[in-house]
Structure formats: C-alpha cells, structure tokens
C-alpha cells in the first residue's frame, strides 16, 4: 500500500540485482504410498506439492503466501530455507544457488535466513530454559560468551517482552502462547537475519494476543528492513502485514500482486472466491454467495490444464487443455485464461 518502488513481479524481469530471493520454476514432488502398493494396484502416486512456481522477493519486501491447506505454501517456505531440496528448479538467495550451499556457506545462509514457526508450543525444546533456547543460534554462530547475554536481552526487548531477565530461567511450559511466540521470534531475530519466513505464526494463538504478535512482527520487519514471507490461509492477517500477496492453489501460483488491489478487486476466479469467503466481524456486513463450485482440491489427482477449472464457475474448454501462463494485469500477474485472450 505504501509501496513506492514499482513492483517487479515477473521472474524474467531484469531486476536480479535488487532481488534477494529468486524462485525459478521450482517443483517439489512427493512420492506417497509404498512401491509394493504400486505393483498391486497403483496405490503409490506422486503428490505435486509445488508444481512450477516463479517469483522474486526484493530486498525489504514483505510478501504473503496465501492459500488453503495443501496448496504448497508451507512446502514453498521450507524450500526457501533449504530445509528440503526441490525436485526441480532453482532457488537463488543473494545471488547464490541454494542447492550449492554447504559447509561454511550453508552456515552463513542459516544465519541470514530464519523461520518463525506456526506452533510456539512445539517450536521450543521443552527441556531447555528460555536462555538456553535463545543461546543456541548465537552459540552456533560462535558469538563470544561474554557478548551473548546482551544479544539475548536485546532480542527479547526487540519483540517487546517487558523485563526480559525474568524469562531467562523459565521453561516453555511456564509461558503463555503470546510470550512463547515472541521468544520464537526473538530467537529468529537474534542473529539479525535478512530474510524471514513466518509460517502462520499466529494461528495457534488466542485472538486477544494475536494482535500483539502481529504488531511486533510488522514493526520489527519495518525497523530492520527484513525481507519476509508470511505464510497464511487468512487474507485479513496477510493484509495486515504484507504489501504484496502471492495466492497459491494446488502447488501453483494463481495471482501475485499488491495486497490492497487483491483485496479490493481480486482477478483470478479462485482469489475472488477466497476474498468473498473471508467472514467480516461485523453483523451489518452483507455477504454475497460464493462464486465457486462445491468440492475440494485433490492434490493427488489435479485436473488437466488449469488446476482450478473443476471448481471454477467460468471454466471453458481451453482451461482443460492448456495450463494458463502468467498474464500481466496492471501491477499484477494472473494465471487465468480469462486475461490472456
């Protein structure tokens, strides 16, 4: 919304020097079922969790990765952090190919790219005190022992934990969800990374404390100029923290552009349904019927051509034959045949 730099969203744009993260035709296919089952009756199949995605993240940009469960958003986040290796395609970070990183280069990458976990109750080892949990990344980065305490306290202050000393000797189960998620964020931020993946960081938290964690995320990101991916199924949350949104459906990107525009006027039929489905916390709000067919996305057996066509109210013959290529509409990229004719 307050984006002054023009949004370069195409992977082909010559903006590589400004891009921190480049994703080129990345695929992640999982084999499910046993090989034996495949022999007997085709029980084994391939799930295309991510099936050919392209995008770039510019330095300092915050981008929402939006979609339903199973759309590949979490897998994408894991791939960007080299927590798994893609089946195909290339992921570049700071002009390096992630696939080539190992040893010292990998350690350096781990310092720069961090993850904020979905479930703060599980992201911290229950046997570790908060001090020990926060010490782990800086100990790995070989920070001298004498400097560690200051770093720990500073990171905790950064996420607005008041009186940080009181938490040091406590164990995770002695903290509330909101406090834990701040600790998880402090841990991610302690080495001053340049890139953060936040995987539904507030979905396990109660409504009354969510806002606090979101505000910290938003403010810290702006203050440190972090490049961030915010993974969520909730457009209202994404809108709160991201200027740009990438909408995914069944392993592919369907729409990519400024969040405000997507909320105001979604272009892709799937995004339209997604925006219309978000409930509004006001009783006077009128809701239109959903522009989508019944059924659910089936990752094991996606339709030919456009993977959304079986639920799409506007699908025609071409959608079954041809996979839609990205089409530029204003500042947005839309993967739909309505816009490329």
């Amino acid at each position: 919304m307050n984006d002054t730099v023009p949004t370069d969203v195409t992977a082909s744009d010559a903006s590589a020097e400004k891009a921190l993260v480049t994703v080129e035709n990345v695929r992640m296919h999982f084999r499910v079922g046993s090989p034996l089952a495949a022999l007997v009756g085709g029980g084994a199949s391939v799930v295309k969790a991510v099936d050919g995605i392209d995008f770039q993240l510019r330095q300092g940009e915050s981008v929402g990765l939006l979609g339903e469960s199973g759309c590949g958003k979490t897998t994408t986040g894991r791939l960007l952090l080299k927590l798994m290796e893609p089946t195909a395609g290339r992921i570049g970070f700071d002009n390096q190919n992630l696939a080539d990183l190992s040893g010292a280069a990998l350690s350096a990458f781990r310092r720069k790219a961090q993850l904020i976990f979905q479930n703060p109750f599980e992201a911290l080892n229950p046997r570790f005190t908060i001090a020990r949990a926060l010490n782990e990344p800086i100990a790995n980065a070989k920070v001298p022992i004498g400097e560690r305490k200051e770093l720990i306290i500073r990171a905790m202050e950064l996420v607005r934990l008041s009186d940080p000393e009181q938490y040091l000797d406590r164990y995770p189960h002695q903290l509330s969800g909101g406090q834990l998620q701040r600790i998880v964020m402090a841990r991610a931020l302690i080495l001053e990374p340049s890139f953060i993946v936040a995987d539904e960081p507030v979905s396990m938290l109660d409504v009354s404390v969510r806002a606090g964690v979101l505000n910290v995320f938003r403010d810290v990101r702006e203050k440190l100029g972090l490049t961030a991916i915010y993974i969520s199924h909730d457009l209202a949350l994404v809108r709160y923290v991201c200027q740009r949104t990438i909408v995914m459906y069944l392993g592919r990107i369907v729409e990519d552009g400024p969040t405000e525009e997507i909320v105001r006027e979604p272009l892709h039929p799937y995004t339209k349904a997604l925006v219309a489905a978000v409930p509004i916390p006001r009783p006077d709000q009128s809701h239109e019927p959903l522009p989508i067919g019944r059924g659910a996305p089936d990752a094991r057996n996606p339709p030919s051509g456009c993977s959304f066509r079986d639920r799409c109210p506007l699908a025609h013959e071409r959608c079954a034959i041809e996979m839609p290529a990205p089409t530029r509409v204003g500042e947005r990229l839309v993967h739909c045949h309505i816009y490329d004719e």
């Binding site: 927590l83 310092r111 599980e122 046997r127 020990r132």
Partner: protein, 301 residues
C-alpha cells in the same frame, strides 16, 4: 547475573542433567522396592570383602584337619553351611553378587549404549545408514541367543565376559529398534527443525535435542538387560560352559547340581543362589515396569 547466565547456559552440571533425564521411577511402590533391592545388592557386592566370612574358593578344614564339607547352616559357625568340597556357601553367595552385578551392569551399559547409538543414528539420518543398521538388527534378531553364547564360549576362553560380549553383539537389536521408532517421531518435532534453522549441526541436534528424550527408554532396556545377563550367565554356568575361576550364582547352582545336592536335601546350598537370581531379576522387572508407566502412561488404566 552475567556469570549465572553463562554458567547456566554453558555448564549446567552434566551429571545432574543425566539424572534429571533418567526420570527415576520413584512414584511407583514396586519400582521403589526394585530400586531398594538393587541398592542392597550393590552394597553387598561393593563390601563383599568385609561381609564374607571366608575366601569363597578356599577349601576349609576343621581344627583337626578334617575336610569341613557338607556342614549345614549354623554348624561350626558356617552361616549357610559348606559345599561338599568344603567351601563356605555364604561367602560364595556374597561374592556371587559381585560377578552378577558386574555382568549385569556391563551388559546393561553395552546394550543400552549400542542400542541407543544405533537407534539415534538410524532414526535421525535415515536412508542408507538406517537400511544398513536395521538389516544388521534383522540378522541379530535371527540369532538364537543361548546357543550363540555357548558357541562363543567354545571359540574363546570360558569367561564371564563372554556373556557380556554376546549380549553386546546381539541384544542391542531390541533397544535399537525401539529407540529408532521413537527418534522417527522426535525428529519431526518443530523444535528439531528450529535447531536446524538456527544452525545446529546434525550431531549436536541428535545429542542435545533428541537423545535426552530417549534416555529413559534406553534406561528401561538397560534394566531389562541386567536381568537377562544374570540369567544368561547362570544358564551358561549351569550348563557347564561358565568360567570355573569365577564364583557366580550360576556356578554355585552347577556345583550343587553336580554334587547331587538335591538328593542330599542340601537346600541351603542351591536355594540361596536361586533366590538371589530371582530377586535381582524381579527387581529389574519392577524397575522397568515403573519406567514403562512413566513412558507409556496408558498402561495404568
């Protein structure tokens, strides 16, 4: 505060951590009884020199230089009587606890250590390491245990360490499999992934984040192994493949059997070592049961 934080982070007593992570099952009365029995046996074994009234292998004579054989308990001051070769049964029993615990504990440590390592590596790294280790476990599962120990005794010198070696070679399989299964679920925990993101090496993750969670499990298998080792040593000795130089409860039983103690109704000779074996094995069972209730609380209902 600076110091306290650093010490707290860096050097929290390893020993204390170890005992904390063992979670001794002190809540269960049976387990406590088992722990007390173990403690008693350990005390006896450690102070065997003080408690024993005679050298267990010494052939005893009366002041008139007659063989002091087949004395019944209490007779001439022999607490549990003597064997038909004139050796003091009480002293043999006391020294027997020493070899029993030596075998039991070393076997337990070996089984727990090897099994835990195998389980951790196979479970965490998966892939080829997992395949190789688990095929080895399959082979170990195929080996019949007692005959294996006998064959080993035939190849090597008869020694109580054969039992320990055999257990180390074969019995890690159960511990390894169970711990591997546990590690498979532990390694998917979010905090393990968090450790990876924070730059911890695989080995560091295995030993600081995963191992402490499986330690009670290895301890459970360790306590089971103690009973197994003592029982195996007794069987081997009883079958006559044991170490003739070392006094053990199994050796005592074999000695009593060969001397036809049963037909002579010399119960004082073979009942005490038999009872000791039962006590130690049962104590091990109680402790492991206590552990199971901690590890798998559903057993309580």
């Amino acid at each position: 505060m600076h110091e306290s934080l650093d010490t707290q982070i860096e050097s929290r007593s390893l020993i204390k951590q170890f005992f904390d992570s063992l979670h001794l099952p002190t809540g269960d009365p049976f387990a406590v009884a088992g722990l007390i029995i173990y403690a008693a046996f350990v005390a006896v074994a450690l102070s065997a020199d003080v408690i024993a009234t005679h050298d267990p292998t010494e052939i005893l004579y009366t002041p008139a230089y007659e063989l002091a054989a087949d004395r019944s308990p209490g007779q001439e001051g022999y607490i549990l009587g003597t064997t038909s070769l004139g050796r003091d049964i009480f002293s043999q029993l006391v020294y027997g606890s020493r070899s029993a615990l030596l075998i039991g504990l070393t076997a337990a440590v070996m089984v727990a250590l090897i099994g835990t390592l195998v389980g951790l590596l196979a479970g965490y790294f998966g892939g080829l390491i997992d395949t190789i280790l688990m095929r080895l476990a399959d082979v170990a599962f195929g080996i019949p245990f007692l005959p294996f120990v006998i064959v080993l005794a035939a190849f090597l010198e008869p020694s109580i360490w054969n039992v320990v070696l055999a257990m180390a070679l074969v019995l890690w399989r159960d511990t390894g499999r169970v711990i591997r299964a546990q590690v498979l679920t532990l390694r998917t925990r979010a905090y393990v992934e968090a450790a990876r993101v924070s730059g911890s090496s695989d080995l560091k993750i295995v030993f600081t984040h995963i191992a402490p969670n499986v330690l009670p499990l290895s301890f459970l298998y360790g306590t089971i192994a103690i009973g197994w080792a003592i029982l195996t040593e007794a069987s081997i000795s009883f079958l006559g493949f044991g170490d003739p130089e070392t006094i053990s409860w199994g050796y005592m039983l074999q000695d009593a059997y060969a001397s036809q103690a049963l037909s002579q109704r010399a119960y004082y000779w073979f009942v005490p070592p038999g009872l000791c074996i039962i006590l130690v094995v049962v104590a091990g069972f109680f402790i492991s049961r206590g552990y199971e209730e901690i590890l798998f609380p559903k057993l309580k209902d």
